[in-house]
Symmetry: C2
DNA sequence: TTGTAAGCGTTATCAG
DNA sequence: CTGATAACGCTTACAA
């Protein structure tokens, strides 16, 4: 009957319920400030019209969006999926919506994405790792948008972070495998430029070597992007130029899975002929054969804590407080001890 | 010096450049309508202030957001990643931004997500598969928001779709493997309720059986969610209750990878003891051993075409036209012929 | 408890 | 080519 053709507005609802737009607005935002009678009337009108609030109008008037933006390096693999999932769940619980963008690991893309998120009114922003153009931090500060770093922990950094110590985690892990007698070590890392996680993991391996009186300069390191193919190709290249390599430490499970495939294609047995390790402990680590020995990252806890902290920063208008989470080593089948090594 | 503290607005820029807000707006949207002189002056002011347009205000005034929403079942695995990536790239090229939500395969969640996307001003919406509460389609129609279905093709459906014929694809594939002599067939599918893709793939297998004079009722079917674990558990259960099964057709590569792990854990050789197949041909299909024989879906092309079509629907204000893409079979190592089968 | 009305930051129409 | 100015749909003092 009533044939207002376009999307119904507050005004339409108000008219139908015979109240003012202010009342309808209150009914939607602070229902207890209304008589039950009017509230019911308004709600009925809302339902009859199939009214949905216009987000743009709302955020313009309220200067608040209850939206949080997250920029991740990639959605192509599952590395960030679990953590983000947990982040999102906690956000939901607190009434916030998550907007995700990915940069395909292109540092230059990040600034654009962040500006977009901020332009869209994000009340806060989550980013992965500390490394990025300072201009980005300046912009965010100027816009007064809270930022939280995750997947990395750095007390000294100006931006608060909830994550783990990539360097220490990798160092501990590397010390463990070196303790198994490995002396010829290879490493496949993600590109370390603009990526503190990758850089710290490399540093961690070198720390471990030093601690075991191995020359860090002998680490055969190769940096590649982030796909299975990259991992496989890197492995092939590595074993070709350093055939004596007994273990290849990978900067991520994805690269490690690629490396394992590379080994298979080369006819090498893992771990009998060569050991391979990952980092992250995503589900993927358990679908290869052998399953991956890797560093377990508390994805879920990290995501949840990050959400909690970021929301607190927004709502309490306070600085974020960093938090360091622990990683653990999970031994599966991809690492063997060197025979005859002193243990 | 000039210490307007909050985010700069059009007004600030206008004042600094000594022009009207209208001019600034034009400078940003239709630059050629300005003298080079004023344009430069405005641009300088924009840069000096670090101005970013307010998205909410813009979309409210223009009633256009250049944003497209996509709702996918899950981000947890890579099934939709490649297609979405291509979708996004094409959108970028045309000046649109993509907003993604995932439902975790919960049909009930979809309506809420769609309303959210529409409230945020999405100019168009992309969804996966045809099956959903009709109320959703009603809502979208009422709001005059163009919708395009992908990952499925159905000429008869009221909503335009750019995808492939899941039933035919699976039928062809199943006929091929049945032709190899398999008579005891198992199938691990995603939950088929509210999921036409899953249902059609099941139907396709039955079609193939019928065509080969096998009783479709003998198909040992099990429906599970969508993780590796689900695939593994389903496989165990299937082989337990139907030990004579010679091939297990999986509704997705993810489930198939889980099934392969299940086989390994049971001590079964693939494909010597049992053949296992996937569907989708995502990268994952090539990291298992043996690598998966599966149905290749043209993710990239599908995503790109979907973007092109949806944008056309929006800009030309016209109905969408469906398009059927072809899938292909890719044989890798996970299927064996039954010895002595007549071929 | 409810209504009035002033913004919020853009775009777009219409003059000039 | 440029400038006023009226929307756009909602929230929020401030009044009643």
């Amino acid at each position: 009957m009533s044939s207002t053709d376009a999307a119904p507005t507050l005004d339409d609802v108000a008219r139908l319920a015979d109240v003012s737009t202010a009342t309808v607005s209150r009914c939607l935002n602070t229902p207890d400030k209304l008589t039950k009678a009017t509230r019911d009337r308004v709600l009925a009108a809302v339902k009859e019209l199939g009214y949905t609030p216009n987000f743009a109008a709302r955020s313009m008037a309220a200067k608040r969006t209850f939206t949080i933006g997250a920029i991740i390096p990639t959605m192509e693999n599952a590395i960030f999926a679990r953590g983000l999932q947990a982040f999102q769940e906690e956000l939901d619980r607190r009434g916030y919506t998550l907007l995700v963008s990915s940069t395909a690991y292109k540092a230059e893309a990040e600034e654009k994405q962040i500006r977009n998120l901020v332009a869209r009114g994000a009340d806060g922003v989550l980013v992965i790792g500390h490394d990025r153009d300072p201009a980005i931090y300046d912009y965010l500060r100027q816009q007064r948008v809270p930022v939280l770093v995750t997947w990395s922990y750095d007390d000294a950094a100006p931006t608060p972070s909830i994550g783990f110590d990539n360097r220490a985690a990798m160092r501990t892990f590397a010390e463990r495998v070196i303790g198994l007698g490995h002396r010829h070590i290879g490493m496949i890392s993600s590109m370390s430029a603009q990526n503190d996680r990758a850089r710290m993991r490399i540093a961690g391996v070198k720390d471990a070597m030093l601690a075991h009186r191995l020359d860090p300069a002998t680490l055969d390191l190769i940096e590649v992007p982030y796909t299975f193919d990259d991992g496989e190709n890197a492995f092939l290249q590595l074993m070709h130029r350093s055939p004596q390599t007994s273990i290849v430490l990978c900067g991520s499970d994805v690269l490690a899975v690629g490396a394992i495939r590379g080994a298979r294609h080369m006819g090498l047995q893992v771990p009998a002929d060569v050991s391979i390790t990952g980092f992250d402990d995503i589900e993927l680590a358990q679908v290869t054969h052998p399953e991956l020995t890797t560093v377990h990252v508390p994805h879920h806890r990290m995501g949840k804590l990050a959400a909690t902290e970021l929301v607190a920063m927004i709502e309490e208008k306070r600085e974020g407080v960093s938090q360091r989470l622990e990683t653990t080593i999970v031994e599966r089948g991809s690492v063997a001890a060197i025979k005859g090594a002193k243990r």
